[in-house]
Each structure stands twice: as C-alpha cells, then as structure tokens.
C-alpha cells in the first residue's frame, strides 16, 4: 500500500470517527422523537471552546475536558427541557425549526461568551508525528480513534445490555407501546439529548487539537454529521458509524487524489448516488408502509 494512500486513510479515519460521533448524536435524538436536532453541531463547538476556556482558567486538560463535556450536556438538557419539551405536540417541522433557532442562539452566545477567533487545544499527548508504514500519524489521531472506539463500545453496552438503554430502543421502535409499558418518553428524550450533547462535546474536544475550534465550527460539522447519519440510515447506530467513516474516507481520498476544493462535492455526489439507489440509507430500515 502506498504511503500516500495510507496517509489519506489515516486522515479519513480520523475525520470519519468524529463524523461518526456527531452522527450518533443525530441518530439517538431522532430515535427518541423523530426530530433532527440542528443544534447538534453546536454541541461539538461548545465542547471544544469550553475546554479552551477552562484550560485558560488553569484547569488541567483532563479536568477541563470533563467539565466541558458536563457543560455541554447541561446545555443539551436545557435545550430539551426549555424548548423541545415545551413545544410538545408540535409537528416535526416546527420542532426542527426550533432546533435551528437554538443553533443560531447558541452560535450567537458563543460569539459573545468567547470571541470569533480560532482557538487551539494542545494535543493530548504531544504532537510529534508517529511514522507508520511510510506515512505519518498524529498521536491525536490515535486518541480520536481510541476514544471513539471506547465510546462506541460503551454505547453498545448501554443500548443492548442495560434496561434503560433497551427502554430507549423500545421507544424508538414504538412510542405508544413503550409508554404503555411504563417508559417515560419524556425522560427518554431528555436522556437522548444529554447523551447527544456529551457525544458532540467529546467529538469537539478530540478534534480541536487537529483542526482548531471556533464559534462557528458547529455548522459544517453538524452538516457532515447529519449527512453521515443519513448515509448510514437515520436511526441506525451502526449506520451512523458506517456513514461517518465512509464520509471521512471519501473526503480524504477525494482531497488527496482529486482536488481539495472539490472534496465536499465528491462526498455529497456519492451520498446522493447512494440515496438514490438505497432510499433508506445503507443500513436504514426498509420498512414497507402498511396500508
């Protein structure tokens, strides 16, 4: 395998892991409520920016990161409690617009609380590149991949092995039945938002040392996360991961072999092609409508 290809693969997997985390955030909330949370990208942004602030206040990196995740989770919970829950009963489109409003609000707050400059986080374990098979890998990339893997394992365990996780899955399959079984759908939605907030924040913190962070990084990351979630099949956890990785790899390969300017175009063309051929995404449920 050529060193160049390997390089692109590393870059692609790293970005892909981040997209996967963001995509999971979308899927988890979608599963609980059919809503697409357009503020998901802002969770990513808050995670990174909050860590930067807390670092400046003197906290050690691990503590700053943890606190940032907590802050973002609180923001996510607030979004659910104060906005989404209040609008309970509104149509899906209305709820989506509310999350769009929230994303604008959060971006605005970010530009006030912080500023409009680009900030960097120090790499977790230094930035001396590691040579591997002729290509170079940033240690931060290993962190990204490692932590993502750990998070995925934790999520898998949560949704498949704990009672609460299974309750959440049940809600996504049949809300009414879940309610009748005594599951509080409201609580499930709250937990979903909290989880998505934490996932987003984690993604933001992991990637900030590589791609920097700023008040508006959420827009593109949210967009790509959404694209990844759809590509893999909305509502499917494995789909979100697959979609994220594929998107990251496609982008890296396109940027490397074709043109950096057109990497997004190529990625989206491929997504469009996949959707036209598989209207429910790669791993999406192909449920036939019962009439």
């Amino acid at each position: 395998m050529s060193a160049q290809l390997l390089q692109f693969l590393f870059a692609g997997l790293t970005a892909g892991a981040i997209y996967a985390l963001v995509a999971l955030g979308f899927s988890i909330i979608y599963n609980s409520s059919q809503v697409i949370n357009f503020a998901q990208g802002e969770f990513v942004m808050i995670g990174g920016m909050a860590t930067v602030s807390l670092l400046h206040l003197g906290l050690p990196l691990p503590l700053a990161a943890l606190a940032a995740v907590a802050v973002t989770t609180l923001v996510a919970l607030a979004l659910d409690k104060l906005a989404v829950e209040r609008a309970h009963g509104a149509s899906i489109v209305t709820l989506i617009i509310i999350t769009i409003g929230a994303s604008i609000l959060l971006r605005g707050l970010a530009s006030l609380v912080w500023d409009k400059n680009i900030h960097a986080l120090p790499a977790f374990s230094g930035d001396k590149p590691i040579a591997l098979g002729g290509a170079t890998l940033l240690p931060q990339s290993l962190w990204v991949l490692g932590v993502s893997l750990a998070v995925l394992a934790a999520l898998w365990w949560f949704f498949n092995r704990t009672l609460y996780g299974k309750a959440m899955l049940a809600t996504s399959h049949n809300r009414l039945a879940a309610q009748l079984a005594g599951i509080s759908v409201r609580r499930v939605l709250l937990v979903s938002f909290g989880l998505s907030g934490a996932l987003g924040a984690l993604a933001g913190i992991l990637i900030a040392p590589i791609t920097f962070t700023a008040w508006d990084v959420g827009v593109m990351l949210g967009l790509k996360g959404f694209a990844a979630a759809i590509l893999g099949g909305l509502g499917s956890g494995p789909g979100a991961v697959l979609g994220g990785l594929l998107l990251g790899l496609t982008e890296a390969l396109a940027a490397g072999y074709v043109s950096s300017a057109y990497k997004d175009v190529i990625a989206f063309v491929i997504i469009l092609a996949v959707l036209v051929l598989m209207p429910g995404g790669l791993l999406g449920r192909r449920a036939a409508e019962r009439v």
């Binding site: 971006r107 300017a261 997004d264 175009v265």
Partner: protein, 316 residues
C-alpha cells in the same frame, strides 16, 4: 364555506396590494427601500417554496442553490458572453428550471429527512462549484452584475425596482392562490395528506411532486437573477446551506400551507435582522431566541395561528 374562503383570499390579496401600494409612504430613505425590495424578492422564493413544503409536503434544504444559480447564470451570460441582461435573465431561469427537472426526478423518490439531505447536498455542491470555478464565477468573492436594461435605459434606483418587485410578488401570490384552490392544488394537498391514497385516486405522485419542485426552483432562480441585477453583484454565499435554512424557516415561520404566510414569514425574517443590527453582537442571540419563542408558542406559524384566532369555533 366557499364564500368565506373566497373572502379570505380576496381580502388577503387586497391587503397585500394595499400594503405594496402604501408602503412607500413609510420608506423614507434608500436603505428602507432596499430592505423592502429584498423582502419582496425573498417572498417570491418563499411563495414557491411554500407550495413545495406546505402543500406538496416535500422539503428542500437546497433552494438557495437554485437562487444563486439563477443569479450567476444571468451574470455569467452578461459578463462573460456579452448577452443583454433582458435575454440573459430568462435564459438563466430556463436553465435552472431544466436542471431542477433533471435532478428532481431521482431525488424526489426520497422521502422526509432523506429528501432533505439530498436537496441539502445539491445546494452544497452548487455552492462549492460556484466558489471554485473562478474563471467563470469570480470565485469566493463573487462577481459584479450589470443592471437590467430596458430599451437601452438601465433599470437603476430603488423606486423602479420596488414597483417591479411589488408587481411581480402580487402576480406570484395570485398564481399560487389560484393553483392551490384548483383541482391541481387539491391533488397536491391530497399527496401531502396520504401519498398512497392519492395514488389510488389516480394522482401520479412522482409527476406532481416534480412539477411543484421545478416550479419552485424556477421561482427561486428568477428571484436570484433579479437580486443579482438589482444589487449589482453576486457571491456564492447566496446559495449557502445557511441561506437555504433561512428560506425554509421563513416558510414555516409564516405558516406552512399558507401563501400569505410565506409572504409574512419572508417579511418578518428579512427585516428582523435589520432591526437587530443596533444590537450588534447580540443580534444572533436575539434572532435565535425570537425564532424559538415564536415556534414554541405559535407552532403552526404566524398566519394560521392568527387566522385561527379570528375564525369562529368549529361545531362540537
């Protein structure tokens, strides 16, 4: 019931016509005229988008792409190929309409969030191409656009444009209202209500969706081309994802399945940022907050909620 509907429609059209006719009294300077014209142009896009979202029940998160393409098409034909603006404009609109037709067929087979993603992707593709092919488009900084000229006279000046856009908006609203109340409009609403039942009464859902998609894309392209000639320049950000979201928000905000709602939504969400500029850094925060509050307390949008307040209660 028909009489009531007719009165609502006639009343609404009259109110809009009066608003257009009387607004200049309040427009005391060039800046206000500018805002009014932008409102009108946005409203034209929203009327078309509302047909797609509110009536046909589809979604497009890439309509700003058609808007930008309309503008760039006309600009490129004028600047790079020397076409007169009066022929470049319709040619550009026709080309974008054709593109929408070609792309629409495969895309409209998708539903819900998948359709949203496909249209979003389309918008991003358009924007990136526009920003990258700088030989034609001037790159990320955009390009300048010559003014529209009628019989050798350049159409400049806010007043001329105001009346032109006002008249066009009224025409679009009239066409849209007619369409909605016609059997075709009923077919669209049926499609939205239940696609399978609509098919079973003979409605070719694919074709109807495509027609509305193409129509709304054409309107967006027209508004885009007009905006380009009016403001004298165009940039790729006119087609951005954020812009597309803005347009959808205007439609939902004003009230889906309401043509007047689309106009109101465009008016509110175009002027609001302008009103908030004194707040400078707080502009985004207030704007986002206003959006959230309005949708929480008026979930069906402004016009349907207000109309509901005035309508007599239905029989129990």
């Amino acid at each position: 019931m028909l009489a009531r509907l007719g009165a609502a429609r006639g009343g609404g059209l009259l109110a809009l016509a009066l608003a257009v006719a009387l607004l200049p009294l309040a427009l005391v300077n060039q800046y206000l005229y500018d805002v009014a014209i932008l409102v009108g142009l946005n409203a034209i896009v929203c009327v078309g988008l509302n047909l797609l979202i509110g009536y046909a029940g589809q979604i497009s998160l890439g309509h700003a792409g058609f808007f930008a393409l309309g503008g760039y098409g006309s600009a490129i034909l004028c600047v790079r190929y020397g076409w007169p603006p009066l022929s470049a404009l319709p040619a550009s609109i026709a080309s974008v309409t054709l593109l929408a037709f070609l792309v629409g067929r495969p895309i409209l087979r998708l539903k819900g969030h998948y359709l949203a993603m496909a249209t979003l992707g389309l918008g991003v593709i358009i924007t990136v191409v526009l920003a990258t092919e700088d030989r034609f488009t001037g790159g990320p900084d955009g390009m300048s656009v010559p003014p529209l000229a009628l019989f050798g006279h350049a159409l400049r000046g806010e007043r001329v444009w105001y009346w032109m856009v006002g008249a066009l908006l009224l025409a679009c609203v009239w066409f849209a209202l007619n369409l909605v109340e016609s059997p075709r409009g009923r077919a669209l609403r049926a499609l939205h209500g239940s696609e399978v039942a609509a098919e079973m009464i003979g409605i070719d859902s694919a074709r109807h969706k495509l027609v509305v998609f193409v129509l709304s894309a054409g309107l967006a392209a027209a508004a885009g081309a007009l905006t380009a000639h009016y403001s004298g320049f165009i940039t790729p950000s006119q087609g951005s994802f954020l812009r597309s979201i803005e347009l959808v928000t205007m439609v939902v905000f004003g009230g889906m399945a309401s043509t007047f709602g689309a106009v109101v939504g465009a008016a509110v969400l175009t002027t609001l940022p302008q009103l908030l500029t004194p707040l400078k850094d707080y502009e985004m925060v207030v704007f986002g907050a206003v959006m959230m509050f309005t949708m929480i307390f008026m979930p069906r949008g402004i016009v349907p909620t207000l109309a509901g307040l005035f309508r007599p209660k239905a029989r129990p």
